[in-house]
Symmetry: D4
Subunit: 247 residues, 8 copies
């Protein structure tokens, strides 16, 4: 359709060849020299672009942060450091930083959160990753229920929370070490389970690779896995699924 319309306008002389050519070659992103900001993302995916702060140069971070804030009225950055926070706060004092999840953000007030996502962790050391997942999902409009420290070596703690987990549209299961949490949850609920291996552990945990393998090999149904420590990815996916359930 759209192509037809453009061509029609060209035929009718209502659009110059140069303008039409631009259309067919258009760049739906903003060129910043060192980066190409995906400003059409919100239109395309319904979710605004997010900043992966780790390793960004100060000047670049500040510019991108500002540019996104300008455009959307809110910004969300993951894997930020305390010093990156200090930097941004000077220019945007309303910025908040959570030292556990390493999330830095300016969020619109009175945002409505809908649906429900359950974010579970095996141990207390997995909470940093879980918070990244929960806060990401919340930023993208989902309600997140936190159920922490319910690892499989004390299964009664998990069973005591089954009802809450079963009510969610999607469960995020965060676990390091042997990573068995996802399988047990997968057998208890009838909703998608997004499994997040964490680098928590030592020795043969191989920085999370063992937990990743455990989860990928899960014999339970309805489980899929994201990268090690990738709380953001899990939260994003959970928010997508939650949004589908509400649509």
């Amino acid at each position: 359709m759209e192509v037809k319309e453009i061509l029609k306008k060209v035929q009718d002389g209502n659009l110059s060849i140069e303008e039409a050519e631009k259309y067919f070659r258009r760049q739906p992103f903003e060129e910043m020299g060192y980066a190409k900001l995906d400003t059409h993302r919100k239109i395309r995916s319904g979710f605004a672009e997010v900043i992966f702060c780790s390793g960004k140069a100060n000047e670049h971070l500040l510019n991108i942060f500002g540019r996104l804030y300008e455009q959307d009225g809110e910004v969300f950055g993951t894997r930020a450091t305390q010093s990156q926070y200090e930097l941004i706060r000077k220019q945007y004092p309303q910025t908040v930083f959570d030292p556990i999840s390493k999330i830095i953000k300016i969020e619109k007030k009175n945002k409505v959160r809908k649906g429900k996502i359950a974010v579970c962790t095996a141990g207390t050391a997995d909470i940093a990753v879980a918070e990244e997942a929960a806060q990401t999902a919340e930023y993208f409009g989902a309600k997140a229920e936190r159920i922490y420290d319910v690892g499989v070596s004390g299964i009664h703690r998990l069973l005591a929370n089954v009802d809450i987990i079963q009510e969610a549209h999607c469960v995020v299961a965060v676990a390091g070490m042997e990573g068995a949490l996802a399988s047990v949850i997968g057998g208890l609920v009838d909703k998608p389970v997004v499994a997040v291996p964490t680098s928590v552990g030592y020795g043969a945990s191989l920085h999370g690779l063992s937990a990743l393998l455990t989860m990928i090999n899960s014999c339970a149904n309805g489980i899929a896995v994201v990268n090690i420590d990738n709380g953001y990815g899990a939260g994003y996916l959970a928010a997508q699924i939650n949004r589908l359930a509400l649509s």
Copy 2:
């Protein structure tokens, strides 16, 4: 609630201690000696139990097949062999077998399929796994759109099908070798992408491990990964997400 009700009935003398005890100790599965059939699964998850045929002894397979058919009026088995099909067909002549996906099934007639799942493959060699995914999703009530041979080394083939993919509630991306398909699709749609690495490839493909790593490391949002060649797992998860979108 439920617990309260049971206890109330005991207190009121409407339920014997023996009956109540059974309730608290009940086994929501059927003991078959060599296996514990999860007969409550359909109630719990909405999806009936499925048979993983590979390596099952003939007698066991036949019994489980029969038991599930009896209970649900339909059965679904994955990774079946031609000879397993011959065996079952003798007793259940209405059984059908697909030699590509290795699926064996008796499916209820006039089943309504709703929503939409897009199942994409990078190459023609990935079709066996994709069919397992598509037919699983269809068995569980989803409509599946097949878009095969759209791998990233000829990106125009994928782009020509973007509209169809974008209409789905969930995309299953099946790819071996370098497994890059999931990332490209993840950047094109705003719906969950279930990535399935396949063991297609040679040399350093490491029987699918390379594709698995590619997918787990995807820089696109909204992607989660299942085990190598696990078409069933992807189809199941996609059907869950599709059902949520319809609810």
Copy 3:
């Protein structure tokens, strides 16, 4: 002590130098050319030597089998093939062979079995390895309780059997795929858990390596791991622990 006694006898002239020298240089094994049979093992460990049949030449197998039978009145072989069984049966018709566990044996009648070992499997495909463990433990005098198909993706099946498991002196947890069974059991009992990863699974199960890593990284206490598919090793260790509990 023993050394002192020998020396005393030499001093007293009750033992020739040659005899004494033999003592200090003695070889507590029987030289068979191609193998050194550890005939003192029963005295040393309380458990007779066992034959690992896989890959043994027919003639060697037969000789070793005969030699051990002669000495102990019973024999026990693991990983035997049907054709090895045919071979041995010709000469020792009382031999029995279990095609599931691949165990071949002549066992003394009316052997008393004491204590209790619980052998659990995650799925039905793990039963071959579990049987190797259970029958090994039984051969070495333990009672074995079999609790099969209680994997973590249907946790209610395991919970329904907790009482039986908790009564054992030692639990053998056999699981492939994601191998999470050991952790859950470890959290439910206060006895040693011997975890056996199996090569059951596909894709990223890496022939049992994933399950091995899961079990080694277990966050539960009281768990130790043996080699992939090493049912014999688990059964032996469990029998040792059971014997200690009875002593």
Copy 4:
């Protein structure tokens, strides 16, 4: 039984529905917000809960330490740092810290230690892990015999200590580099051997993975393996086995 009794009381009117319901829904753990303290563990396993100090926030560590001390009159923490010790000592001056094993504890006086566990190391660099094992076993009531620096490249040092090792109910074999100690000990004793690979070594030791593989592949009987550097896990398991031998 227990279930029956509760139900009987309800039927008899000796227990209110609310009380009974609590029973069936009870949470055998104490919710601390960031953690779920497993306060019933001692009843369940006979061994009190232990603190894995590494990475715990100061405030959390202090609270958990206090809470466990209050409940049991003693506390045991592994992988503590000097600065964590300073922190705790201020509030609990009776706390002791061992900089080699990194164990922090308040232990009841005049505790009786029974049975015997032998803790062996291949080299002097493995002593830190061995001490974690020995002191854990001692905390849980076992006597521990230390036999250090008896690695296989100087086999006479091990042979000179065989008698002491053979008297133990359980042997803990701690070794890095090529990890061969466990196999040699396994061939010398008739008791369970818990093998602990350590990250001692360089180059292809792969931070302990090589030693882990060596031990898992041991051709000796009666050996099982715990995670790399997991002295605590080995000590716990050894104490369990020792307790069984004494029962």
Copy 5:
């Protein structure tokens, strides 16, 4: 030929045996004690020797830098540190240092650059490696077109630059994380693609190994891979190919 000429001169008495012997035993390198400078390299390969600065002792670095500058009138060093730059600048104030690519150099003025190489990156974090490639190719006489941040998760950014990429004689594709960029480019152009995996990523990126595997398994034609983060190697190879295209 050359051999024949030498021999001719010997036969004719125009060359002493000693001189001729030197020729056949000549060492086309300069012995510096700690290093053998390959001073004939420029003649042999057309490209001067380059310094890998990382880990070089200060004195050695200075000497080699000076020696090469003396000989060629220009020098090029990779993986230099700020402090190495300070050191060299004192003696050679005309030295320039690029803190992003870590390249240190003195380059002849008015150098002509010919042909065209396209250097593409998936993300902004890959730019350091890409600059090493681009500046290496430029030093060796190629024109380099930089096309950064065109990763596959936003495929429209890459497609908008296809024309520029297609005009190059050789494309360098730099990507971390899932490393899919090379495959997509390989399908869009008919020129050699040199793929450079980078260590950008986290979790299962395995410090670039995942991207390396992705690229090695590429299903597109005309792609070959260099070591992780080896921008220099890619730039060198691209310059060689570019030179061939110009010859």
Copy 6:
């Protein structure tokens, strides 16, 4: 340019909107149901599409073979089996099959081969892969010089052939086992070296992974690596480079 021309024609009324729309939506591939034949590839890359025969269903193979032959007057298939050859030969008797390289083809007569590629192998066991490379390059119009069995453990054999190798525009270095050939050649020539690891070897050769690692880590300049046993990929790339050198 092209876009501009189309639009110009539309403006001028020389092209209907429908025709123009087709252009912008055109699918440069032919849909075959199970595959999307990339019929525009020859226009795009100058090299026709090639068939990867391994694992193709008979009917599919025959159809694709026929379709490509029809279009180009010649066909080239890799990794064919003897039985696939028998199948095709029945319909296309002019087909030839090389049992060493497993290449099946119908090639146009009197094809001109230009430039020069040197294909070297370390041992005789690497010749199958080398032939795949050489014949691929020849099919795409390059002259290929074969220099086999010049592995580094007998360096004089390689040195005796240096002149021939140095004359090529591109060298393909094929080696299994320790794969050191590429480095030595890389130090002897000033042309691109495409390294092909082969799965030749045993034990720790890890099916070619060791050779792949050796080649990727090469300290020589101008080397890039393709997948294990990927002779086709190396030949294709070498032909591309050769073509550039001739342009």
Copy 7:
């Protein structure tokens, strides 16, 4: 010297330029088309060339076998199959074949064997590899003492043979599974130990990789390692060392 002499002759007119040129360009190998036979090897290394039979085409094998027999009056081939033996025996009836070591050979009569090499194995399953080592060393003139089945899990069997082992000039230690034999021997002798990991084992033995890692990480002095199952390599090296000891 040699170079000088040639040049002198050229100067003196005693050697034509053409002859001299041939000398400097000479090929110390015989070109067989598919292979370059290293006919100067015996002069260079003192040991004749050996045939790696595995995978050789029948015709090639026969030619090489014949060519070497012609030249040296004896031949030695490793990894031969029964059918290769049948083939060769037809033409060379004096050929002998050992089905255990897979060695095929014609050996000169009354060959003198000197010095002493001790070849030890951990188990009976390692004997095939050990025989390859022992017979290789014998072919190259060493005396080989076989000490089999002395694995570390029954250390008394090894200790009973220490005297014989200590008398050897070099020890070859062959072991699969956990591969600890080399370390124990290394600690008992003051001679070089060549360690050969074998692929004997199952599960986490990783086809010999675990044993290889064990041996490489050995804490004993004087140990070096060859490839998995590489009995030939170990025998060759041991023969070299033995020869040095006799020189």
Copy 8:
């Protein structure tokens, strides 16, 4: 014999039972509490014990250093730090420390060095490891010839030194990155080659694992491999072989 003599003396009354018993139970090591000093090693192996300084506590290091110096009149320590040197120098001012090889020692004056070992490196970055090897061999009485920076990517540098290498009794080949040096040397000499992979390299060098695999897979004869960066082990083994050649 020895045993016989002792027994004879007991029989003859020339030796008390207590004395004889001590003999059979003697501990050929000195117990230092934290370590068992192998004081009989020099008698057993001809080479005195050496200190692996890395990670030793100051007090322990000083004691062991002193104890060995006292006993042998010289001491040799590897992997020492500058601060360990400062510590020891205070008490033993004659101690010397080489910051490149990290060797600390007091060596007897006028020690005679015999035979010849060639120590070769691929690059300048491998010199630290090579020096550890060379100085170890020298300490144990061998002459060491250093031939550095002769890596295979500039093969002429190696060939120019072939004569020197061929004269040695044993060659130590030290190389990181692709590690091909050992194979080339193995093909040039007829003496044992001890290959030392180093952790020099980046990216897919995997901290030396790639070089280790290259060397283990070498197709040349007479090569064996020690652990990554294990210069000491290579020097020790080379000294053993050199000693054999001199005997």
